[in-house]
Structures are given as structure tokens and as C-alpha cells.
Amino acid sequence: MYEEKMRFELTVNGKRQVVYAHPSKTLLEVLREELNLTGTKRGCDDSNCGVCTVLLDGKAVKSCTMLIVQAAGHKVTTIEGLETEKGLHPLQQAFIDHFAVQCGFCTPGMILTAKAILDENPDATEDEIREGLHGNLCRCTGYKSIVEAIEAVRDGDYGDYVINWQEV
């Protein structure tokens, strides 16, 4: 079982990666087990909780139900890719400042989904943010602080998002 591995190439956090994995492995399994990127969490295995959310070519996807075959050749961003030499991504800083983190298990997926929302629409309204986050469960915060953090970034509290951070 799983002994027959195939070669896959993908770009993860800006770095080209070659992985050898059984084609039935999910992107989540490859990220966690082969690339040691454990910031991407595993919660439900059926796309409902959102803790496994990563960005695939800039769009938020649930990596627990995406096979490595489907991700091969694409650009993947995980939570480990957001902090750069410039420092934390403003969404990361805003989540800290607004107490949008409690147990933290949903946080990586939540921040990446928030990034996808703002990258697509830097002026997203509260309703649009809520719609965008409806596939990410949080059991601790009640979401208020999460929405406040995203709105703070949208509103320029951490500099102009479009000029400094938007990736299209």
C-alpha cells in the first residue's frame, strides 16, 4: 500500500518543490508529512471545518480533499509563507492585535481565507467577509474579533493593502 510513489512538482511558498508521493495522497498529507509544513491543520477530512485551508494560485482551497495530483504544477501558499523579511503579513499582525486567536487551530486557515478575500476584493464589506469565511469554523472566538482584524487591514490600519500587499 502507498509504496508506489510518483513524482510531483509544485511551488510552495515561492519555492519549487519535488515530492514523491502515492497519487492518492491529499495535498494536506503531502504538505504536513513530506514538506513538514504543519501549520496547515487537519480537522474533519471532508472540507467542512476549513483548518486545512491553503491558497492554490491565490484562491482558498481545502487541502484535505484535494489530491496531490490536482495540486501538482500549481502555486501553493501555506501559513508558513506569509511572514517575510518585511515582517508579519498585516493579517497576521491584525489577528494578534485584535485577539482574533484563541486556541489557534483555525487561525492559519482563517488568515489564508481572509487573504484570499482581500486579494480578490480589497474593499470587501462585512457581509462579503462573512460570506467568504463561512467555510471556516472557529469554536473559540465567535468570529467578532476575526472580522474586526480583517476590517482593520482593509481599512488601512496596517498601511495601504492594495499597494503593499494585494496579490492578484
Binding site: L37, T38, C44, I96, V101, P108, E131, H134, C140, G142
Partner: protein, 794 residues
Amino acid sequence: METLIGKGEKRIDAYDKVTGKGLYASDFDNQFPNMAHIKAKRSPYAHAKILKIDTAEAQALEGVLYILTGQEPGIDWDQYPKAAVLATDRTLWAGQAVALVAAETEELAEKAVELIHVEYEVLPHVLDYYEAIKPEPAAVIDPDYETRDQGFQDRPADRATNRVSPNIVGAFYMNSGDVEEAMAKADVTVEGEFWVGKKTASPLECANAICRYDSDGGITMWSNGAGVHGVIKQGICRILGMKEAYVRVIQPYMGGSFGSRLNPYIEILTALMCLKTKRTVRFTFTRKEVFCSAPSNWPCITKIKLGAKKDGTVIANDYYLCEEIGAALNNTFFSGRLSSSGAAPCYRWAEKGRTSNMRMDTYAVSTNTVPAAEYRGLGCPEAEFGIECLMNRLADELHMSPVEIRLKNIIDNGERNCYGELITSIGLKKCLQAVADEIGVEEEPVQDMGVWKKGRGCAVGGKQNTPLGRSEAEVWYNSDGTIQLFISCDENGMGATTAMTQIVADQFHVPITAVRTTKGDTAITPYDNYSASSRTTYNLGNAVLAACNECIAKLKEEIARHFGLHPSKVEIEGTTAYLKGTYVQEVNIPSLFVPVGMFTQGNWGLQQGTPVKGHGIYCPAPIHQWDKNGLSDRVWNWFQYSAAAVEVAVNEETGEIKVLRVASSADTGNPINPKLVEGQIVGGVHMAIGFSTMEEHLYNENGEIANCNFSDYRLPGILQMPKNEDVHAFINPDALPDGPFGAKGMAESITIPVGPAIAEAVYKAVGVRVTGYPMTAERILALIKEKKAKEAAK
């Protein structure tokens, strides 16, 4: 420096969590590439006789290391946590393990589980209270109840004697005043029977544990379980007979618990398989297993009668409660006492100054469902739902507002509750007023949403703090002036480690970033029982304060000795000591630590590399044995309170409920960190909206949970929460005299009043009285149809 107490200091763990750098137990897998994997063969039947377990084929599979069944010799399953018990001759719930496999890979373990063949003879089962409580039920969960030895966490005094059903496994009676006489004097009485569904706490990280087999035969465990010392290590030592020096338990970041990880089911089994295989092993529950094989909450059925005078004074409460605790063999600590304590904290149940008229008749009953255990509030949301519903009904009957009737009956500081305990901190009236004003509970909403009818409601809740166990803390003042804190509380996400660090920073007058905290490693950090019953701020906070005091006193003495001063003339602020009464007014403390050298060394004094240490212990005083009426002046420790008010819209055509606005207020005592408290309030409200309107276990014909995944068991998401401007959190503290800085816990009380407030708002919106939750759309619609049919018949 200004005090840090009461300040919204940033969380010390937030950076780790927003960057993905913080490791959770499940992230340690990669560090053990050669570890073995555990998988369980589980019963698909709620109740069945095991005729045969054939493990031969699985055993023959290459890479299978060990197969454990309930028949394994030398195991006393009575000592195990209920959810960890492997079936021996009978399966007691669907999802109970019949065998565990350890194999070289996860895939091999799964394959081996498939190759284990079990022959069952299916038996009739009972899945809920109403079936289980019958004098001759279809199934008896524990026929040996009367003669069985005490097991895990059992208490001999709780053994039920008056058993109307053979499934009754515990009982608690309490009688204060004269309920019958008071009821006869009442101008008005209201009564009702209330139920709640069975639910799973569903923290997002599934239960998991890794157990390393150390070279000397000891074990080291990483798990997301709670209570590294008091629950997991003590459990492993007691149940598996390990020596304390040979068990080390480490708790990395935890992906939530809400009480559900206080039960060491996965930890004990993982340690057992580690010892059997002498290998590092990993056991990770699937989401299905978290539903079917890890403890649920315990639902409560309540039958309550309240008697009141015309002016709204409630003078009697006749209270029956039964906890439905699942397939818990033997007597357990779920005997009715914990849940029914929820009937005590808020109200007098008498005229002011008189003895309470309160009668509690409480039981626990077993069913063929997953064994129950802790879930945020410990049965109190379930136990208080009916009381709050009846208080609202009483207000309607007496043409009073739901606020007014409560203000009349809420107990005041300095009074004694129905057990006879002195109340020393209660800010509930202020909490209620704040939320009622915010939502406008006493005003009618404008009906402007078509088929969506609006209504408003409020309720209150109180929860006891169970005074169990010590907390210890250690504080180090290092020779370079850096400060360290060592504690073993759980960090389920509530922010306790931040609050504790804040206390240390406050005492040494340094920024919180100047204190480094190490947590949850039994080989390094001192004893703590667990973080349960909202106790961490109180219990451990007092211990941390004591540790700071000891460390500072020692440091002052050393500095004072250096200058020939009395220690009282020294003040410490971070790395600076301020002196009075000598020629030096200010000194850099690290400069007083002498280097290690043959000319400078000694057995006393400040020396580089050697921290000045303070140790603190705090344990609540023991409780006072109750009398034959169940009364005692010390049963619980203190009470946390909250109030909630909501405006909901109910769709008349579909029965769907939308919470439009919500306000929640907590009496936290003086909060150490109000931002963390606000997070608990809003999060607690959200969790309660979920279990009040959506969440419950549903069963298939085998008695197996049919909705054991997040597609079918719907948890609340962001869209179930009102928009931000309509979510209000207030803190209305009444300082607790024995709390650190007057603080007490609060995280459980928040969830209690949300359900009954929604129930009242639904009544105001569409005129139907719900008697239980979850208030699903289909249930509300059925009530609306029933009401319409009755109206048509008239």
C-alpha cells in the same frame, strides 16, 4: 510602572499561532518517523453480545505489532475511563472499541482492523432517558451495578439506593426548608418538563496522543489532553501501575477542549499500547471517532415546579433532574449533583431573609450511547434551561417583565443560597440590567421582516466552581534580570497562560514581554490538577501570586543584605532596586550577582547563573460534608454568573431561527485581562447559539450516531452569529474576596443563559413555548403548526 492588572495585554502565544510555528500534539508526528500507529476496531451496534473475535488474519499481516482485545489478561477495565473501555463480552454503545491494533504504518493498521472479524448477536438497546428510565427497560447497561467495585473517579456515597429503573446509577437528594408548605402558600405555580439533546464539544483538533517508549522503560507522552499532572500522569500511573518518575507528559498547544479533553481516554490506551509494543506509538481519532467514541456532554431532563407570590417572589422550587450519561458502567461522578448545582447559584427560592424552599431529586441514568463527560458548563446549561424558561413564563403570568422578576429573586452578596453557603461575589443584577437595556428586552420590536417575526428575550445563569485540587507555580528571577514562570495549567485557548504571565509581569513591574513562560511538562513544570470548572485564573492565579511573593521576598532579602538594610526598605522594578535608608538610592540588580569563580563563589548570596526562585501553592479549602438533607455551608467554592439577551427572528413558514442581536454580560470578579474575557464571552455566546439551535446526535437503526461528521452534524459558523455591531459583550464584576486581585473564572457561565433567552424570544416572536433544545427549524415549525391547529379548532 502602572499596574498591568485589568489591561488588555496581547496574548503571549499569538505569534506562534498566526505563523503556524506553534506545534500542536498532532504536529509532533514528523519527529518520530519510525513510530507505530494505532487504529481501533469498533462496534457498529449500540448493544450486542460478542460471540467471537477472530484476529488471526489480521495477526498474520506483516507489520502488525500488537492486537489488543477486551479479553486481554491482566486488565481491570473498571479502572479505565469509560470511553476507553474495550468491550469484553458485550458492546455497550456503537463506537465502542472491541480491538486495538498497533502496526508499522497507519495504512497497515487500517487494513488489520478490516481483517479482524467479529461475530455479534444484536441485543435490544436504549438510546435515551425515556427508554432507559423505564422500570423494565429494553436494555440494562450495567446488571452488576449493585455489586461492582468502585472504578475510575467513583465516590462510594453516590451509590443509588432507590432505583426506579435498573439503569439508574447515581443519585443526589437535597431538601431545604419546606417545599410543600411553601408551594401551598404560593399564589401562582408554573411547572414543566424540559429536555436537551446530546452533543459533542467538537474542538477542531481531534483527540490525539503520541507515546514514546524511553530507553529505561519510562514513557513520554505528547497529547492534546488536559491536566498533564492531575489527569493524564496520575491516570497512567494509577491505571497502568507506572512509577511516577517514569511518566512524563507534555502538553503542546491544544486545538480546543471546552471540557471534552479532561477525560484521558486516548492517553491511557496509547500509553498501554506503547508498553505492550515497547515502541513509540501514535493514536489519532478521526472526526467520526470524536463523535462516536469520545465522550459527549450529558443531557439533562428536568421536571420543575416553581411557586411564587403575586409580587413575583419565587418561594419554592421542586426540582427533579436526571442526567443521561451514556454507557457508563458503574457509578460515576455524574450523579446529579454537578448538574443540579445549577439550580442553586442565582435565586433565593424564598423571601429575602428566609430559608430557601428547594427540593432536589436527582439521578443519573445509563443508556447505550457514548459515555458522557465534561463539556463547558458541566451540565448547568442543561440544568438551568427549564428554570429560566419557567421564570419567563412566571413573568408573563404575573404581567411582570422578565427583568423585574429576576431582579426580585436574584440572591445578594452576603446571603446564603439553598445549600446554606455564603455568597461572597455576585454581579448578576448588573449583568442582567446591562444586557436587557442593550437589547431593549422590555420593549416590543418593530415587525418589519415579513414572514420573519421578531421577538426578544433574556435569561441569567450561574455556575459553581468545583474546589478540587492544588495548583502550583514557580517563578525564577535570573541573574541577568530576566524572569521565568513555570506552570502546568491547560491552555485550551482561553488565554490563561497570558493572564498568568501578566500577573508575574505586574508583580515585578516589567512589561509582559519580559517574562518567559514554560507550561505543561510534568518533568519541568510544577503540579496542577487541570484547568476545569473555570478555575485557572482563581486557583493558579493565587499560586502564581504566592510564587511571585516568595521570589520577591528572597530577592529583597539578598539585596538588602548587600547594603545592610532591612528588606522592607527595598523595592524592585524589573532590573532596578530602589533603596531607602542608605547612601545608594538605586542599584542594577544583575550587577549584584557575583560571577562564578574560585575567589567569589559561596554557599549563599546572589551568584550568576543561579536564579532566585519562588514557589507558590494554592488549593481551595476542602468542602464540608453535607447532612442528611444534602445541605452544607461549603459544597462549592464560588459562583460565576452571566446574563444574556437576544433579539431573534423566526420564520413562520419554515421554523428557522436567526439571532439578530445578542448581548452577554459576565461577572468575572475583577478581570485580569478584559480583552481575553471579551473573547470568552463572544465565543461562549456563539457556541451556545450552536448547541441551542443546531447540534444534536441523531441515531440510525443500530443505535449508531448517524450524523457523525461535520456535513451532517452542523456546527455554527460565522453566518449563525449576528453582525459585529449587533454583538455586545459586557463585564460587570463583583470582586471575589479570595480571588487574585478579586478575579474569578467565567468561561462556563456564558453559555448558560443563551438557550433560554432564545426560547423566550421565540415565544415572543411566534407564540410557541419550546421545552428543549436544539430548537431546530423542524421542531419550531411543528410547534407553530400545532398552535395553528389549536387555534383553528377553537
